[in-house]
């Protein structure tokens, strides 16, 4: 079933709404809520969730007879609908970040009203998942991000994605959807997948499979065969992350892919002088580990993050 999460007026165009998929048995309690597109330029998440909705609707229609949806699932592929259509990260009218508007309000600004409606629709789910990407400048390995997680969340976070990254709670995140979810019983996760502005098919397929496996593991989708490759997960705490920042500005070029293991001292890219073309810095891995993030926009300011390697163990 498709329903509107929220319907609002607009100054000079038709009313706009935020549609969502509600799939599965009409039980009172929501099994899982999936959200993407709080930022309008994060297309990987939108694509993944629209495909997941199609898949679960097919399950409901009996096209996969071995599978059965036991609990109700809510899927919102894009919250910032206008941002998606206009290719902007923020809410286009006032440039506010929807993921800094939680818990929202019924009487406040437009974005606070959207935030409130989203939180009301999702907060009582047993499992809540918010999918993001990095910016358009940086590519992240598909990962689960945990911010000050509970033990139960640490255990459940083994979605089958290549990495689980744990971070401490920061004041920066106090007005995010994740922070508001955490007030409620249940488990909450943020996934970060690739970079903004793109559909990265490999990443999307991997995350799609992991979400299906996740629904199987937590007992929402019956009959899922969990592939062995989806069990290989590396858990990294903050101390395991080694970041390389640009000591010099210029043009950064690298053909390395995220998700590959690299050696200590291995060359991973070059910084060129943007005017003379000289190589001014070889970018090397500071440790042996998994390449979990790489800069994709070539133009570097001094101090920009170039890459991140996470050391195992």
């Amino acid at each position: 079933m498709i329903r509107d999460l929220l319907c609002m007026t607009a100054p000079v165009r038709e009313r706009f709404d935020i549609p969502c998929h509600e799939i599965g048995p009409k039980t009172l309690h929501l099994g899982a809520a999936f959200v993407a597109g709080l930022h309008g330029d994060e297309i990987n998440g939108i694509f993944i969730l629209s495909r997941l909705a199609d898949f679960l609707n097919c399950v409901e229609a009996g096209k996969y007879p071995e599978l059965r949806l036991l609990r109700r699932v809510l899927i919102i592929p894009a919250v910032n609908v206008l941002g998606v259509n206009l290719r902007t990260r923020t809410w286009p009218f006032d440039k506010s970040d929807l993921n800094r508007m939680f818990p929202g309000s019924t009487t406040g600004e437009t974005t606070q009203r959207i935030a409130y409606a989203l939180l009301e629709a999702t907060k009582r789910a047993d499992y809540r998942i918010d999918i993001h990407t990095a910016s358009a400048d940086f590519e992240e390995i598909p990962q689960v991000r945990l911010h000050g997680p509970s033990d139960a969340e640490r255990k459940t976070a083994l979605f089958g994605l290549p990495a689980v990254m744990e971070r401490s709670l920061s004041p920066v995140f106090s007005t995010t959807l994740l922070a508001s979810w955490r007030v409620w019983p249940g488990q909450s996760f943020v996934l970060r997948v690739g970079q903004a502005g793109l559909v990265q098919l490999d990443h999307c397929q991997r995350v799609f499979r992991s979400l299906v496996a996740f629904l199987g593991r937590v007992g929402i989708l019956e009959g899922v065969d969990i592939a062995a490759e989806d069990e290989e997960v590396c858990c990294f705490n903050k101390a395991s992350a080694f970041r390389v920042y640009a000591e010099k500005a210029g043009t950064f070029v690298s053909d390395r892919q995220v998700g590959r293991w690299v050696g200590s001292g291995q060359e991973l890219g070059y910084i060129y002088d943007s005017f003379s073309g000289n190589v001014i810095e070889k970018v090397i891995s500071p440790v042996a580990g998994l390449l979990t993030g790489v800069r994709r926009h070539p133009l570097l300011f001094e101090g920009d993050l170039i890459l991140r390697v996470n050391k195992k163990g």
Binding site: T9, F93, D94, V172, A249, G303, D304, L305
Partner: protein, 324 residues
Amino acid sequence: MSETASMKIETFFTIEMPYRERMEIRRAVFTGGDGPRASVVAGIHGDELEGLYVCHLLAAWLERLQRTSPGGLLGSVELYPATNTLGLDTLTRGIPVFDTDLNRSFPGSIDGPLPERLAAALMTALSGSALVVDIHASNIYLREIPQVRINQEFDDLLVPLARHMNLDLIWLHGAATVLETTVAHSLNSCGTPCLVAEMGVGMRITPEYCSQLMAGILNVWRNIGILADDVEIPEICHTPMIADDSNVHYLNAQTSGLFVPAKSHWTNVRRGEILGTIVSPFRGETLSEVRSPVDGVLFTLREYPLVYEGSLMARVMSRKGGMS
């Protein structure tokens, strides 16, 4: 580069850009005696220009003081008029390229990307000041009366200072509504008093507000020993009203359309009085009437007419009495 013996403009932060240029952020430093140091920060948001003009007025006043009464400056003054230089250069509120609000980046980090480094450099530069005034100009949507905004966590220290600022409102915010990543919160948390002045509207200057705030800043400086007691400053003639969560009423649009104000900004209004209407640009229809919920002062008024459902159009404050 030294301009005079006791005034210089210097670069306090620099960073290399991708193609041959360096971004440099400058401050004006006025040095008098060995007394305390005061700092004024403006342009953290690249679409807010009121603070730049206040810095100009203060610089002009200090230059005149040095000519006419060189002993009048007992301490030193640092003016940071354009902290988000790239944003100001490009009519952008945040830091261009990074799409980051500088005032959500504090306390920053010395080895991160530009916003983090700049925030850290500002924290280092401003820490230890006897007083920092961080000047903001609302945004392009709303016009504000000259006011100081204070986190209630720090009101014991800051309200007595704010009383001397010659502004019309002191707005005390509950701790839960304050963003911890602002320059003011970061400075106040580490013991450097920082007042946030807010006035006018984005992308414009309001000369009378700027002159009013300049006089207030000079008044505070004289009170805390930056300026000598016998230095003459412009007349102080504004007494602040007090606002907090209990007496500020928000008027958000019930529907979308074109907001047309019926009252002037900063006027007294009566309960039930029409403050404006939301009309349809397509038909001769009034979609919504905006009425004051209380007797009070219309201290925030929408400047940008288009509204979405939920857009803030006005704030009205019921009077709690002035501070004397």
